[in-house]
Structures are given as structure tokens and as C-alpha cells.
Symmetry: C2
Subunit: 451 residues, 2 copies
């Protein structure tokens, strides 16, 4: 008897939000009151299998991705078999981001691209679950040709052609195997952002740094950009506490104009930061390049990418020297299909990738993809790559990222690790989850949705 093909039959979407603004967790100089949120999409099939994908947002606006997703999905996936999508996934991806009417409201940026990410993540989750593998393993087991087939090369062929990609991905199977084993055994280095938030007092910073040092961490990042004197104070304390050798990074969250960024960072250069992250507008490729050039003599690189909208922008940041550390985001880009060519371009142009994590589900997705890419799936990584960690909210996920000491370890469960626990859905669906109802009743939150 012929097997019935796995077919996508419907879509659920959920607007999940967590009231993190009540504690100001994750706030920075620009994003002052984030409610960490997930626009969750669940693909239903003609079997018991589902595909789950999310987009990370910080609250208001989460339902816009949600509406967009429902709309895009009905056109593009419902009724299709999984195989008809993944057999020519690169082409499917290109058709989706270039849908003839919807592309006008993007293209490949902002809300519509965030929604694309959730959908594409859900397809990868479904695919990996059908194969009974975590996503990284699915990627590792693909042939170079299969990997190339999930990518779309439109608009990047001046830097990366399909043929080059194929060549980069073709390596000795023994080397690939060895890298995979090393990664499984040693995990993957992470850094922490938890020790030096804006406004922390000296003693609190010192205590936190020591705690993290004791737990095995040796890379630290702190927020800067609100007040130069306060930045100097906190950097002084961190540098003193962690010693002269460990890496210290700083993050301005897009606070400055170009001349101000250069001035400010020269003032902080004595603390020898490894990088300045998001010094100015995430769209300002030439501005980042100018900042990078001015700071190179001080040994400070520029890191950016968490708000970099698509692979065409990454291509240029890499070409222009505007990015010494490439912080690709699993939801800002349109899923693994777009992350892969960015990794390859970064490899070609010799820029290390340090994926953005720290939002809801981002740690989990990074654990799935960056591991696969530093080891065998992409076969190309040679440089040390870090990503940040902030573990809060992972308790709401079925399979939270595994972090031991200052290292992540790859998930063993099938799928893309984007599945929320049922209790999280019933408590944190906005605005009708039990927890939101309680907060709204108590006057601690309000329903800002109007759709």
C-alpha cells in the first residue's frame, strides 16, 4: 500500500506575550519596556505531526505578524505536501518572499519578513520531526547539493554563487564527523549579558561578575550609551573584576549617530572592549563601516545583525567592512533558508558569526542552527563563535536550550525546539490567557490590541 504523503491541512496562530516589562527585564537605552513575545504558528497536518515556529517580538505589534502569517499561510502552504515544499525549498522560499502583491509591503523586511520566519521555522520543525531528528542533525545529514537546494541566491550572486556554495560545503566526511563529535562533547561557547545592565551599582556588578566567573563564564557584555560617565564607571568595575585577559563587549542598542559613536567609543577604548554592538541605525551599512574604520586602531570591532533585515543587507555589511562580528537572528531573517547563505558569505569574507539570542526561543533556535553550522552541516566553520545567553522564560518551552557552565549543548529531541508548554499557552496568550486576565484586572497591564 502506498504511503499517504504528509500534507499541511491548517494553521493555528497564537499571540503569546510575557509581562517582562513589569520587571524591566531585557530593557535597554532604546527598548525601555519590552514584553517578550512570540507570534507562534502551528502547522497542522493530515497526521498527528505538527510543525511549530515562532517569531520573537517585544510586545505591541505581535498580533500584526500574527495576522500576516494567517494571510500568507493560506495562500502559500495550506494544502501542500511537506515534500513538495522541501524538495525545492529554495524556490519555495523565493516564491514566498516575492509573492506578487504582498512583496510591496516588504519586501523581505519588517513585519512581513518576521512572519516569514515563523512560517519557515515551523516548516523546518515539521520536517525534522518527520525525520525524527533535531534540526541540526537534519542539516548535518544533508548532502551539499541538498543544502544548496534550500537556499535562494537571488541578489547575492555577486558575492556567493550556487557553485561556490556547493564547493564550500563539500568536505571530507571524516572531518565532518569529527567536528560533529567535538561539538556534541564540548558544546559551544556562550557569553553573558547579565552582569552589567544600565544603572547597576558597583557592588552588584562585582558580585555578579564573580558569580559568573565561578560558574565558568569568561566573556561578558554590558549595555552602554545612556551616560558616558556611568558607562566608564561600570566598565571599570567589570574590567577590574574579570581581569585584563577576558573578553568584554559593549552594546549601544542603536543609540548613537555615526560621529557620536566614534567619539563615545574612543572614550571607552581604555577598557579594551572586543566589540561595540549596534552603535547606530541597523540600516546604516556605510555608517557602521566608518565607525569600524575609526575604531580599528583601538582594537575594537563592530558587531551588528540582530535587526539586520535580510541577506542582501548582510551581504553589504560584510562587503563594506561594517561588521566584524555577524549577529544573525533566527527570526529576523526568513528562517534557516536565509541563515545558511549568510553563514557562507560570512565564512567567505572571514567574519565570525555570533548569533543573536536572548529573546524568547532564540537560544533554542541558535542551539539548533549555530551548532549545526559550526560543525558539519555547513562544513565551513573554523572560527570561534559566541552567542549570548539569557535563560529567562525558557521554563515555558518544552525543550529549553541546554547550557552547562558557559557552553551550550545541542538538543537531542526531534524538531526545532520552538514548542511552548501547554500551560504557557493558556496563561500567556494575549490578552485572554489567565495570567494576562489577572494583570489586566489588577490594573497592571492593558489590552492594546484593537483587531
Amino acid at each position: 500500500m502506498e504511503e499517504v504523503p504528509l500534507r499541511i491541512t491548517g494553521v493555528q496562530t497564537h499571540d503569546l506575550r510575557f509581562p517582562t516589562s513589569l520587571q524591566l527585564d531585557g530593557s535597554d537605552a532604546v527598548h525601555t519596556d519590552p514584553d517578550y513575545s512570540a507570534a507562534l504558528v502551528i502547522l497542522e497536518t493530515n497526521t498527528a505531526l505538527q510543525g511549530h515556529g515562532t517569531t520573537f517580538t517585544i510586545g505591541r505589534g505581535n498580533e500584526i505578524g500574527y495576522v500576516r502569517m494567517r494571510q500568507a499561510l493560506q495562500f502559500l502552504v495550506v494544502g501542500k505536501t511537506l515534500d513538495s515544499i522541501v524538495d525545492n525549498f529554495g524556490k519555495f522560499w523565493d516564491n514566498m518572499v516575492n509573492e506578487s502583491q504582498l512583496r510591496w509591503i516588504g519586501p523581505q523586511k519588517g513585519v512581513s519578513h518576521l512572519a516569514t520566519a515563523a512560517l519557515v521555522n515551523a516548516i523546518w520543525d515539521l520536517w525534522a520531526r518527520r525525520e525524527g531528528k533535531p534540526v541540526w542533525q537534519l542539516l548535518c545529514d544533508m548532502t551539499p547539493q541538498q543544502l544548496v537546494n534550500v537556499m535562494d541566491f537571488r541578489y547575492i550572486s555577486d558575492v556567493l554563487t550556487k557553485e561556490e556554495a556547493l564547493d564550500m560545503l563539500t568536505i571530507d566526511p571524516d572531518v565532518q564527523k569529527e567536528r560533529e563529535e567535538t561539538m556534541l562533547k564540548d558544546g559551544y561557547p556562550a557569553y553573558t549579558t547579565a552582569a552589567g545592565w544600565l544603572g547597576y551599582k558597583d557592588e552588584k556588578i562585582r558580585v555578579l561578575c564573580r558569580q559568573y566567573l565561578d560558574a565558568g563564564w569568561d566573556e561578558f557584555k554590558i549595555k552602554v550609551g545612556q551616560d558616558l560617565a556611568d558607562d566608564r564607571r561600570r566598565l571599570q568595575v567589570v574590567r577590574e573584576t574579570i581581569g585584563p585577559e577576558r573578553n568584554l563587549m559593549v552594546d549601544a542598542n542603536q543609540r548613537w549617530d555615526v560621529p557620536e559613536a566614534i567619539y563615545w567609543m574612543k572614550e571607552l577604548s581604555e577598557f579594551r572592549p572586543l566589540w561595540i554592538e549596534e552603535p547606530t541605525s541597523p540600516d546604516d551599512i556605510l555608517g557602521h563601516a566608518q565607525i569600524a574604520k575609526a575604531l580599528a586602531p583601538y582594537g575594537i570591532g563592530v558587531a551588528t545583525g540582530e535587526m539586520c533585515q535580510n541577506k542582501v543587507m548582510f551581504k553589504q555589511f560584510l562587503q563594506a567592512g561594517g561588521m566584524q562580528f555577524c549577529q544573525v537572528d533566527s527570526c529576523r531573517l526568513g528562517g534557516i533558508n536565509e541563515i545558511l547563505p549568510v553563514y557562507l558569505m560570512a565564512h567567505k569574507l572571514n567574519v565570525p558569526v555570533c548569533p543573536h539570542a536572548g529573546g524568547i526561543c532564540l537560544n533554542e533556535m541558535v542551539a539548533s542552527t549555530s551548532r549545526c553550522l559550526i560543525t558539519s552541516a555547513c562544513r565551513v566553520a573554523r572560527r570561534n563563535r559566541r552567542h549570548r545567553v539569557r535563560q529567562h522564560l525558557s521554563e515555558h518551552l518544552e525543550t529549553p536550550a541546554v547550557c552547562r557552565g558557559a557552553r551550550y549543548f545541542p538538543p537531542q529531541e526531534p524538531g526545532y525546539s520552538c514548542r511552548f508548554r501547554p500551560e504557557a499557552l493558556s496563561a500567556f496568550r494575549f490578552p485572554d490567557g489567565t495570567e494576562w486576565k489577572r494583570l489586566i484586572r489588577a490594573g497592571l497591564a492593558r489590552n492594546t490590541r484593537t483587531d
Copy 2:
């Protein structure tokens, strides 16, 4: 008795679509079935005055801007007086595009920025109506300091500071007056895109070119990029018919990668196009610069901007030499507040502005703003600027743009000319307007909205 201040009390939004895809009007190599659409916002006040603003889209997705607008509006404008907004309009604009949670799903790009445009356009319309002036006249009558106050300089101060802007805008009042009078008398040059759509036969092109020549037009643009042999054929016919001296432009609508764009345009160079428009991804600043450099020896410039997402991108296109003709769009940018600094940067870097028009209401907005900016409001324009014309659908507007011969003339009615006739609203609201109901019943259209 003290006058009661004009206050915004509520917001209406309408999803207006016109079934242009049934005739394939406006289709190109990438946007194959556009339904020209407007996400219309109407600001209600404590008086009989209203402010109308629109965003142009091409169909599906129009309701997303619509939902976004309602949401953003409730936070940001309802309850405010008009004066509290416009007295410090630049700051208001900056707060709006950097709203602490919503900025995550942009920032300043895609859906959220299109929605910003509709809202900001509506505020300008309301303001101009209160003053009893067309928007261009309102701008002309502002002092340099007042003009600078509506702008936001965040992220562009490396190219344009507030002080430079003030300096550029300060000119002899007699010169300003003279420019205004010239503009009112002579109007403003336009070009036509109607003579050479993809697939038109030789004879049809020849007849259309002659008709337009007879009507006084002497600049022609045709679509290219689908088939090189067909492009050569149509360019040959147009060049023969319009003669060697008149300007001929070509538009690829983002069809190519960078190397392909250079190859293709060299193949078309014998027909001496003035510019190649949108040769590749609208995000590819460095790609455009590379194309421009390769085509400069052939006398071909690069035109782009209708999908350029914000002033930070325009800044870079201008800096990098990626744009020899700056095609700013009245809805893609966040309204006049953002158009003004782009005009000033283009002026400083010696690049002519040729605003994007041709969509619903775009001609009307261009007539309001580009006129003001070529004459006195901005006080800075010296170079010839063109914009395209396509008059269809203007019958649905209360005050369609006035075009005589190949020249536009500025509107005399108060406001920003974005007001639809009541009949248009009742017929073309999607999906419940009478015309859409008829089309859906007849099986010629379907309701793709799911919200």
C-alpha cells in the same frame, strides 16, 4: 472667549482596493497582478475638519497596514491637539517611529513605516486644511526654522545637520517668491510610462509614442528585464519614433542580480537610456553603486527609491553613488517629515529628485510636495526634476492632480489631495464595497482577507 484647540478625537480606517489586476494595468516583471490599493486613514476631530491620509499598496496585505494604523494611532494621536503635534513635529515623528515596543517589528521599514506614512500624511492634510492652504503652500509659508522643526536628524547627522539644513533653507524672499510664481505659471515636467509596456507590439508602441509626442510629452520610460531580445526590439521602436534627442528611460523593477544588470544594460546602451531604474534589490546600496560605476562610461545613470525604506537608506545611496536619480516615494517614507531631509541630502550631494508617482494618490501627493520643494519651501532646488505620470484611478479622488500637456500644476484646494470621493469608498472598500461584492459573486475575485 478662548478658542477651543483642534483635537484629534478618533480614527477611521478603510481598506480600499481597485481591481486593476483584471486588466493587468501597472503590471511589471516582478509585480504581475497588482490591485492598486489604498490603506486610508481619516482623523476625526472635535470640529467638522478631518485629516485624510493614505498608503499605496498593490492589494493583499493592505489590511495589515490598516490594523497597524489603528493600533499605532490609538497610542500616539487620539486625544492630542493638532498644535501639540505640529509645534514639535520632528520630535513627534521620532517618538512615533521609535515607539518602544513597536519599533522591534520595523524599525522604520516595511508595513510599520507604510502605516506611519498614512498617519503622517493625514496629519499634514488636517494641518493644511486648518490653515486653508494646499500642503505645498503651507510649506512655502513656513520659516526655515519651522521647516527644520518638522524634521528629525537622528542617524543622518553625518551627512546633514540641523544647522546645515537651516542654512540651506535660508534664502532671499524675493528669489523664493519668484520661484513660486514660475512654478505656478509653468508647472512641473513629467514623463510618461504608458507607451512601452512589456509585450506591446511594434505598431502599438509607435502609435502611442506619436500620440504622446503630439500631446507635448518628450520623455518616455519603458519596462525591461524579462527578455533581452524583446527589450531591444521595443527600445529600437521607441528611439526611432521619439528621435535621438529626447530622454528615454528604462525600468527593470528589481529583476536582476548585480552582474546581470551590468551585462543587460550594456546590451541596451546603444539606445542611450538616461537611466536604468531599480536594476536589483532595493536594499542593495553597494550593488547599485557597482552598477552605476560600470554604466557611467555609457552615460547611463541609476534611478531608484520607490522601495527605499527610509532616510538612512537614502543617505547611503546618495553617499555611495548608487543613485543618480532619487525617486522618493510619498508613502514608502514616513511622510513629509522624512521627505524633506531626503530632498536636502540629495541637494547637498547634487542628485536630482524625481519622485515616484503612478500609484493611487501618489501623483496627487507628489504634486503637493515636489512642487513645494522645487520652488520655495525648500528654497534649494536648482536641477530639473521629473516624475512619472499614470492618470488612471484619479477619477476616484476629490481633487485629482492637474496635468496639462506634459506638465503638472499644483493643486489650489486646501489639504494634501488624498481625499477619495464617497462613491469610491462605497464601491471599492474591500471586500464589502458594492463593486467587490459584484466581482466576488461573479467569480472574478475572492476575499483574501482573513482578519
